[in-house]
Symmetry: C2
Subunit: 333 residues, 2 copies
Amino acid sequence: MIETPYLLFLGDAPDQLAAKVAQGIKDWRPEFALGQYRMEGCKADMKVPDMDLAEAHAAGARTLVIGVANRGGVISDSWKAVLHTALEQGFDIASGLHNLLRDEADLVTTAARHGRILHDVRVPSVKYPIANGVKRSGKRCLAVGTDCSVGKMYTALAMDAEMRARGMKVSFRATGQTGILITGDGVPLDAVIADFMAGSIEYLTPDNDPDHWDLIEGQGSLFHVSYSGVTMALIHGGQPDALILCHEPTRTHMRGLPGYALPSLEQVRDTALAMARVANPACRVVGISVNTQHLNEEEAAACLAEVEKRMGLPAVDPFRHGAARLVDALAAI
Amino acid sequence: MIETPYLLFLGDAPDQLAAKVAQGIKDWRPEFALGQYRMEGCKADMKVPDMDLAEAHAAGARTLVIGVANRGGVISDSWKAVLHTALEQGFDIASGLHNLLRDEADLVTTAARHGRILHDVRVPSVKYPIANGVKRSGKRCLAVGTDCSVGKMYTALAMDAEMRARGMKVSFRATGQTGILITGDGVPLDAVIADFMAGSIEYLTPDNDPDHWDLIEGQGSLFHVSYSGVTMALIHGGQPDALILCHEPTRTHMRGLPGYALPSLEQVRDTALAMARVANPACRVVGISVNTQHLNEEEAAACLAEVEKRMGLPAVDPFRHGAARLVDALAAI
């Protein structure tokens, strides 16, 4: 668990997009985004108070989160100066960078000297069990996609926000580094050893109140040959009661795989549901989330109406129209 | 790659079954099983010449393979004495034990001093790529099971032996530690990091002659919730042209998962084939391997006849009847 609230480190971000981790925290867990730390030349702005390290610590921030992608894949000396000072002033540091904090000997030394923690959220910090398939109490929902990067995390976070607003019992369960930094906890599933993938998801979504929902962040796609094993482990380890299908209607081939056509929503529904029912015979598909960012309003409305009619399920773009109808469908289970 | 031929280390094996890795090598790669090294009290016998280290080295053996499970999960001092001497006399050591050779500092020191290699085949030694899904030349066959431990490795090895005997171009591709020790090479798939599972299988089964067959060792089952992700990665990374279904008809529940019923052969056929066709639209199911070890001759014959009729595919127990009919089916593709 990463200690919250956070001071968001934006470094020398060249533009707003480079700080998308910080943006995710600000959008979905504004209560964690106490302030931002920007260096000379930073072009990103989360619209939260600018603070120096001492101010943020005094205000209660306990972790400096690297909210920006680093240029060239290395932690620069100008960043390092800030990170060392943060450790000295009592901050832990959390990062999803490929360049691990723990591989920087000077940061490790400073952290050890001051008793602080370096959280590299790309790397599992837990020895996960092998999945045992035992039925757990509480309810779980998993987003499964026709492809990678079609909006599964966004969909789950939008549902989480709606369910919180309604006062429902809900936990967003992160399975990737951005989600982990947003919520402060989770499983970096793509970095888990094969034998323990499903077990890590059982660990992530333990027994809970009968009316509590885990919203499990999806990964990959059963139809994406590079990552389908990861998706399968989510379906069996997650033991979902409900599936949300996620789709991006303008994509011409599977992400990173020219020549691989996207499956139909029907194929994803039938395959994912059959697999999910191995672990939870009561599982059903409750709704469809369509990422219409590349369609105009009229095209988006037509696309959603067509999908909804064809599939007989509520079809929404949670970014344009909110997740209320998906949550209605969950609540009806 | 592990250097062959081998001297099989049987240690102080309490019975024949404890030496099943050595037995596998003797059965499937007799040309690698130059001799055996037995300690005081050893109750296993591979029926190959007993040799001391010097004799085996003079005869050409270059690797001492730990062919026996160790008691209590630790490498004992009595074993250690032999292992040190082997390293000093010019042997590499290969092991599939949970207790890794590399975790024994004294063995590491001796190996380094003598320029020898410690092969822990449970641990990947390669940085595998992410799968790219590009179509590869040559043909591939994958065994998929209704459950774990139903005879997938045995089936592939029996087909490999039959195809070698017929002079066909064939490679058994090991994906587990026993298979790796038998053939000297392979991918320990259950220990691979999630993102690289499918890529490791692409790496294992590269472009080849158009009439060459890779026989890929299966793992787990799409219907086994603990390991289904591993199976999925084999199906997509392996890009199989042919599937063999493997089944054990007397099992009352999925291995290690009380309450989980086995899928039918029809379910495995339909699910595995649909998934395989994502990566290779020409894939087909060509035969069925039934492990009838818990049936008598009459029951086995009745079972195989029933499965063959119901599924419309050759159904054999390769242990009882050989793999010839499965190879006939492959050759007909």
